[in-house]
Symmetry: C2
Subunit: 215 residues, 2 copies
């Protein structure tokens, strides 16, 4: 870890937080980080500000910035919000997706299917992300798309955890088919409803998520 610029440092720090390198409530020492990244405090402070802005850390004036790992409640809230954002994207996408858009969505889903058949968790994790991003794009609303991407990125590490559980990939894939049908037929309400259900974490899914976080 060495010799990076402010923006890259922010990304690196984000990765480190995602990888669980830091405990909840841990203070991010500017000087130590500066030494680790071989830069002065200035770019470190810029990177820390970004972390704070993205909600991954909290800043207490004259005290420092402390990383904030979301607890169960906040995690549920974020998934709930994600579900609503995806539902909104689906609602618009059903009415606005072009044939090309639909084509790319179907192709993304085919790659998801490949990954499931190969039992390639990492592959499915990635292709599933692409699948959803195609829907955000299909909403034809750059702002909404941006918000969806932001939260999707924030929830990345937790979705990864979920996929580890047996049957989860297959179920997810099956739901994709229904979503595609709804989008193809232009049924906004159905697309929204299916996407909401697809993303919502509750019941068994919640148990799995929490169990996965223990490790």
């Amino acid at each position: 870890m060495e010799l990076k610029r402010a923006e890259q440092i922010a990304d690196s720090l984000e990765q480190l937080v995602f990888q669980g390198e830091y405990e909840d409530g841990e203070r991010l020492d500017e000087i130590k980080l500066a030494e680790q990244f071989c830069v002065s405090r200035t770019p470190i402070r810029e990177a820390l500000q970004r972390l704070v802005m993205s909600g991954m850390a909290e800043q207490i004036p004259r005290r420092g910035v402390f990383i904030r790992q979301p607890g169960p409640v906040e995690l549920l809230e974020m998934f709930e919000t994600m579900a609503e954002l995806e539902a909104a994207c689906g609602r618009f996408a059903a009415a606005r997706m072009s044939d090309d858009d639909l084509e790319r969505l179907v192709e993304a889903n085919l790659r998801c299917r490949d990954a499931v058949e190969k039992e390639d968790t990492a592959g499915y994790y990635h292709e599933n992300e692409v699948f959803h991003q195609e829907i955000y794009r299909g909403a034809t609303n750059s702002h909404l798309q941006g918000e969806a991407l932001r939260l999707q990125n924030r929830l990345k590490p937790y979705r990864r955890v979920q996929l580890r559980f047996r049957g989860r990939m297959a179920q997810s894939l099956a739901e994709h088919d229904g979503i595609i049908d709804a989008l193809k037929s232009g049924d906004s309400e159905l697309a929204a409803k299916l996407l909401r259900g697809h993303v919502t974490v509750q019941g068994e899914k919640f148990q799995q998520l929490m169990a996965g976080l223990k490790n």
Copy 2:
């Protein structure tokens, strides 16, 4: 304008951008701003970063940060996203609002009615904000509430413009009643639908918004 801290500077700059002090595409000169606020470039740069993060400005490496006033398309997109966020809040609020929450919502709406009767545009502007914030709160999802507040704040100056038009306040108020009824009866779908329609900008509303921006 003088002698402020980084955080306050960010707020002040935000206000200035909201007040239309800066043209679209205008570069925010660090040195000039530093002189205006009687501080060094360091806190100015922190404030600028915040502006960039909140989407009110764009940063081009080694070139500077340029303020980005949203055009008609982006404005519509933001209102569309706001409508979906409000719908989501309404959906949850219908199922989760306590009697106390409903009580506060009704009271906020009473103050809205007062403002309409007094033809107090500024008053309605404020109380209407409170009314919607009560719904965000009623969603009982801090994360979603935060996102809704963020976008509401971003759209503030444009909603202000809309209220100038004759009949707009009365119509808005009438819609509030329907929304309250849906929330009281716990009808999630109806609450979501009504709130979406209440916030969505289209047809005549769009014409008014655009006309108001010309001034």
